[in-house]
Each structure stands twice: as C-alpha cells, then as structure tokens.
C-alpha cells in the first residue's frame, strides 16, 4: 500500500470523518506492513492506528522492549514473537543464548493487556512464564509454540488448568521436558472450547483416557495431532468422537508388526467418517499399513506432511500420493525418489508448496533408485503449474536443470535448494552452479526467499544482486570467493531483511562497506567466515543502533581481555538493529560489542 505515502494533502479531508469510521476502515487492513504504512501518514492516523491495532508481529524480540510495545499498542490482543536466529535450528546457537519469554509476559500482565493469542518461535519459555501467562489473561485463547524450549509438561498443566477459554494449544517441534504428568487431566471438565490441540512433539506417555474425555467434550475440535504414545485403537476411538468436524489430523502411533485386525478395522471405519479431513501429518513410527488405511479420504487432502514417516518405504509413499489429486502442500522424505516425484507431478496438479527432506544422512542405503536428483525437481516444475514454494534436499544438481526449472516456474516466491555435499559442482559439466541459480533469480521476479548451495563463485551473488529485487531472505553456505560476493548482495538487494551466511570467505571489507544497510535489515548472521574481531569492533563503534554479538566457540567462558586479538577470526557473528540498545540477559558465551 505504497499509495499511503503518496497521498496529496487534500486527503486530510478524510480526517473530517469521526475516528470510529477511520478505525473501521483500518479494520480491513490486516497486513502488518500495511498497518505500519498507515501509521506513518500523519499524527492522527498514527494515533488511531495505535489504539486499534490488535495483532503485533515482532520479528526479533531484542529489537524492542515489551514496555515500549505496550505503550504504543495498549489494546493489542495477539502477539507474535521470534527469538533466536534461524540457524539456531541447526545447532549453531548455544541453548542459553537468549530469547526469554518471561519479561514479555511480565510486562503484558503488569500493563493489563487483554492478551488472547501468543505465537512464539525459537524462544526460551519457562514453566513459570506459562503459569504467569495462564493466570494473567482471562480471555486467553491461543498458544502456538514453534521450536521453543525451556519448559516441561508442568507448564502445559498450568495452561490446561487455568485458561478457561482455551481454543488452541499448538506445539510444533519444541524441546519439552516430559514429566509424564497428568497435564491432560488438568483441563477442567468445564473446558469445552478446544478447536486445535497439537502435542505431536511430546516424547513421553500420556493419559489416554484423559485425552479421550477431553476430545469427547470438545464439539468444536477441528485439529488434533497426537504424539507417538497414542496407539492405533485409541486413535480410532478419538477419531470417531470428532470424525465429522475433523479437518486436520496428526497420526503417531506405535505400530505392531501385525496390527490387530479388529483395531485396524475400527481405524478404517473411523477414517471413512472423516469427510472433512483436509490435512494429514505424523506417521513417525508407523508402517505403511496405517498410511494405506487413509487412502479412502486421500482425494480430499490439501496438505500432507510425511516428513517424519521414516519407516515407510518409497513405493508405499508413491502409492499414497498418487491418490492425492487435490494436494496443495506436500512435505515428504527423499525416499520417494525421482520416480515418486514424477508421480507427484502427474497427480498433484494443484501443488503449491513442496518440501523434500533427506532420509539418509550417512549415505548407507543403495541409492541408485532412491533419493532425489535434478530429475525429480525438473519433473515437478514441469507438472505443477501452481508451484510457488520449494525446499529441496538432494545429492546432485545441474545448471541445465535449474535453467529448465526457472523457465517452467517463474512464479517462485521461495526457492531453497540444499545439495547435501558442500561445494558440489554441476555433476555433468563439473562447473559451478552460478548460471543455474542466476536463471532462477532472473526468471522469478517475485522471489522473496532463496537458499543456495553447491559449488558457487562470486558470480552467483552478482546475479542475485542484479535480479533479485524482491528478495527478503537469503541463506548462504559454503559459497563465494571474495568479499565482492557479499557486497553485490548488500548493494543490490534493496528489500533484503535477513542475511545468513556460514562457511564462506566473506570478511571485514564486505561487513563494513555500508554500515547503514543494516538499519534497513532485521539481522545478519555470519559464522565460520573471515570477519575478525577488529572488524566487528569497528562496526559496533560506527553503528550504535546495532547490537553486534559475538558468540564464542568456547561456550563456557567469556573472551578474556588479554586474549583478545583484533586479527582473530570471529566464529559466530550475529547483528541486528534495535531501538533499545544492548540487552542485559546475554550469557557468558556471548560478547556484545
């Protein structure tokens, strides 16, 4: 909504409307970016927007303080917070780095904010925070935790017990200390409001009868994702309870080598009743028989996540996917193979998002007919006209394939390619993959997110800087030759918000060339690169609006003053813009310059 900034003075006529009318108009503007633009038009709009803002998104919890947030948006209802940098997902950030939830809950409670929804990603959440959360916000409805850690099932028990109006409890990929307690029992009998319950990431046993009673008294339950402790017959019972309204199901059950015919029959019967089911996931310790049971409703599925189905062989995955004619989103393991992707390409014409994950980390299996290559990627690009997002782990790639993919799919918004072996060239021509990725950025004018891999020189970054005009996030690993590569990206990509680089030869010259650029970005991550302590110090001096953090290799000790050598290469650098200065909660392994 760039028009907001180009409005002529006469539009102040709009201010002759009462505030309530303007506010009502603003209600139709949902996107955070658009609302941010609105607030910049004039003082009056800024004020109206402030008090009417219900949803706030904070991409970096250290960019702002909770107090300032509440002062500006006192009427907020929904808060999204992100903590650790993205590479924390891959063990590159120490657990105690930061991203603590507690100060936020504390401030929100003290500020008497009527919080209803909280969505957290990569934050450290404690049981105390969850308890405080559960007691402080009467109308609290929805808790979504993604890749968080620091809490136990006791914290979940507080949420269950105290949040009277809870609609959504969605735990995705969290590290939760499972005390095998009775947290499911803690939902009071009066709690009938659940719409979504996802505890697939919990590792321990749960109280099955408590779960069954909870599901039985939740007439609005649309999304249920259970963990591996829910066996086949219990799952069938649960499904029967809410079959007609179930939209989203996560399966995770121990499969016996031979499931009892009776419980299997019950499962089939329950599945047949799930006419509203659109999304299926889980299957982490499940054999193919359980997957086959879902074939009757497979034609209705729009979303399928089999990325944990490590026990199901490729041919069974292929057989199932073949029936999913309406699929829009598919997450799957590479055991489906190129042949499987060809089946996807011919069966799933509505496909928009595809993620193919590696299944064999140690190259054990006979991979002549499993795992995926450029062949599968080209097939998908040719067969699925609506494809706009892809994450693809593969063992090999060619420029020719990437050029073909670019021609077939100019609509990519997200293109993430991870060739498993670092620095691997085009396996036919032995050249670098610069031209292939260059074709992608040139053809995909709307590309917002890109991850590159394989053998890459500075040239690919020249292309990215030249063509990737809408690029917001770029991930680089084991690529480039000189500082020029990084400079081309920083100079060229005007909309760049997040840049994360590992194991690439970029150093101080690139880091320091345009310090002002970092004010336009959320963050920069550089690990195992060529930047030195001296360079980082200089950056910190010239840019007081940035937090420049050095994460040390030796996690137990701060860098000793007398050991500091400015020429010493920095192992991990993370910098981000902030309006609240240096944070006070950094652990010893983090030095903030």
């Amino acid at each position: 909504m760039n028009r907001a900034t180009k409005l002529r003075p006469s539009t102040s006529e709009m201010n002759y409307f009462p505030d309530e009318v303007i506010e009502h108009i603003f209600d139709f503007v949902a996107s955070h970016r658009d609302r941010n633009s609105i607030s910049l038009v004039n003082k009056s709009w800024h004020k109206i927007e402030r008090y009417s803002r219900r949803q706030v998104f904070i991409g970096n919890c250290y960019a702002i303080s909770p107090e300032r947030l509440i002062r500006r948006f006192p009427c907020l209802r929904s808060l999204t917070l992100k903590g650790k940098p993205h590479f924390a997902d891959f063990n590159l950030v120490p657990h105690e780095w930061g991203g603590f939830l507690h100060p936020w809950i504390d401030a929100l409670a003290k500020g008497r904010v009527k919080l209803e929804e909280l969505r957290l990603k990569r934050m450290v959440v404690s049981d105390e925070s969850l308890e405080l959360l559960s007691r402080s916000f009467v109308g609290f409805k929805s808790l979504v935790l993604v890749s968080c850690d620091g809490f136990t099932t006791d914290g979940l028990a507080s949420i269950a017990a105290n949040c009277r109006n809870l609609r959504e409890l969605d735990l995705q990929e969290n590290e939760i200390d499972d005390h095998r307690g009775q947290w499911l029992n803690c939902f009071p009998d009066t709690c009938t409001t659940l719409v979504s319950l996802n505890f697939a990431c919990l590792k321990g046993e749960i109280n099955l009868s408590a779960l069954e009673r909870l599901v039985a008294r939740s007439p609005n339950l649309k999304s249920l994702k259970v963990n591996r402790a829910v066996p086949l017959d219990a799952l069938a019972r649960l499904m029967s309870c809410c079959a007609s309204q179930l939209v989203d199901l996560g399966v995770g059950c121990y499969e016996n080598n031979e499931p009892e015919p009776e419980s299997f029959a019950k499962l089939l019967f329950a599945i047949a009743k799930c006419t509203s089911l659109r999304s299926l996931s889980g299957f982490s310790e499940v054999g193919q028989l359980c997957l086959t049971a879902f074939i009757p409703i497979s034609a209705n599925l729009t979303s399928l996540n089999l990325s944990y189905a490590a026990e199901i062989q490729g041919n069974h995955l292929i057989k199932f996917v073949h029936f999913c004619k309406r699929l829009q989103r598919l997450w799957i393991l590479d055991s489906i193979g190129d042949k499987g992707l060809e089946v996807v390409a011919s069966s799933c014409k509505e496909l928009q998002e595809l993620r193919v994950f590696p299944s064999d980390l140690h190259d054990e299996e006979d991979n002549n007919n499993t795992a995926v290559t450029e062949v599968g990627l080209v097939a998908i690009s040719a067969g699925c006209p609506k494809l706009h997002s892809i994450l693809y782990f593969c063992k090999q790639m060619t420029n020719a394939a990437l050029i073909t993919v670019a021609k077939n799919c100019p609509n990519f918004i997200r293109f993430r390619l991870c060739i498993l072996e670092p620095n691997k060239p085009d396996h036919i021509t032995s050249q670098s993959l610069d031209e292939g990725f260059g074709a992608i950025v040139q053809a995909c004018k709307g590309l917002r997110r890109l991850s590159v891999s394989g053998l890459l020189t500075d040239k690919v970054f020249l292309y990215i800087g030249m063509y990737a005009e809408q690029l917001e996030m770029l991930s680089i690993a084991f690529a480039g030759d000189t500082d020029k590569g990084m400079l081309d990206v920083l100079n060229g990509c005007k909309k760049l918000r997040k840049l994360e680089i590992r194991d690439s030869p970029f150093g101080n010259a690139a880091l320091l060339a345009d310090v002002g650029k970092y004010e336009t970005m959320r963050s920069l991550w550089m690990s195992s690169c060529e930047v030195t302590l001296g360079g980082c110090k200089r950056l910190a001096r010239n840019a007081p609006w940035l937090n420049v953090e050095i994460i040390n290799e030796n996690e137990s000790g701060r860098m000793e003053r007398n050991e500091e050598d400015e020429r010493e290469k920095v192992d991990r650098l993370y910098l981000y813009r902030t309006v609240v200065g240096t944070r006070k909660d950094a652990p010893p392994c983090v030095t903030i310059l």
Binding site: F87, A310, L361, D363, E364, C418, P422
Partner: protein, 157 residues
C-alpha cells in the same frame, strides 16, 4: 589374530581423535571437514531441524526388504576402493566376525584393545555417524548401532 573379550561400558574418550578426521576422504559419509573438530560433531549439517534428525537416527534399518533378520553392512578396507557386503546376523559374536573378515580380506584384523603395528584394526560407523573401535560394547548392542565397517591401517588408530 586377537580375540576381544572385554565389554567395557566406558563412553567415548573424547580426547582421542576419532578415525573420521583422518579417513573422511575414503568414506562416503556426508560429514564435511569443518573448521574445528568440535564442530564436526555438533551435527549442524545438513540444515535440518532436531526432530527430523532424531527421527532419522531412530530409524529401523530398511536395508532388507525381503528378510526380517538380515543385517547387511558395507565393509571397506582402507586403500581398497571396492567394498564388500556382509550379513552380520550370521555371526555369533566378535570372534566369528573377525575370523570371517580376515579370510575375506586376506589379512589379520583385530579389535581395538590389543592393537599393534602389524595388524589391521576393525572400526565401525554408528547411528550417530561417528567412527568407533569395534569390540567395546556387547555384541547385541553392536548389532543395533552398527551402520558400516572399515578395516583401517594400524597407525590410524
């Protein structure tokens, strides 16, 4: 050829360099030599999330499509590019394994504890991707965790 009788349950001695740092070029393992030994073990590549990593580690082996009880693993001799495949379920313990391997590769092979300059040493890659000396853990546990075998030159260990 020595016989391994000791089943010590001590954990890996992290001060000894693991064979992976020397022999990474020979194996097809995806461990990329990074800037420090500690990093190579931290499992930060490929970039997948912990839950997927754990799921893949915990996988029961799918190597055998037809038989329930076979346990074929690849065996390489250092310096020889072509490997062999061996069904570990046919052996009763370390003794018979070593005997069979020694015949197969026509050389003397021993377990770790009694090594000297003359004999090859048998190592294995476990479910974590680490290269370990064969013989330290009980045979049944070894069968659960072994992924592949390598016969290394004595001075490597």
């Amino acid at each position: 050829m020595e016989i391994c009788n000791s089943y010590s349950s001590s954990s890996v001695d992290s001060t000894n360099p693991s064979p992976s740092e020397y022999s990474v070029n020979l194996s097809l393992s995806l461990t990329f030599p990074s800037t420090s030994p500690q990093r190579a073990r931290k499992q930060d590549w490929p970039p997948i999330k912990p839950r997927l990593r754990d799921t893949l580690k915990g996988r029961r082996r799918l190597l055998q499509r037809d038989y329930d009880t076979c346990l074929f693993v690849k065996v390489y001799m250092e310096g020889v590019p072509i490997g062999r495949k061996l069904d570990l379920s046919t052996f009763s313990g370390y003794e018979s394994l070593l005997e069979n391997l020694s015949h197969m590769f026509n050389t003397s092979i021993i377990c770790g504890n009694h090594r000297d300059r003359k004999h090859h040493v048998l190592t294995y890659q476990d479910t974590d991707g680490d290269w370990m000396m064969v013989g330290d853990i009980p045979w049944e546990m070894f069968l659960e965790t072994v992924r592949r075998l390598k016969i290394t030159k004595p001075e490597r260990c």
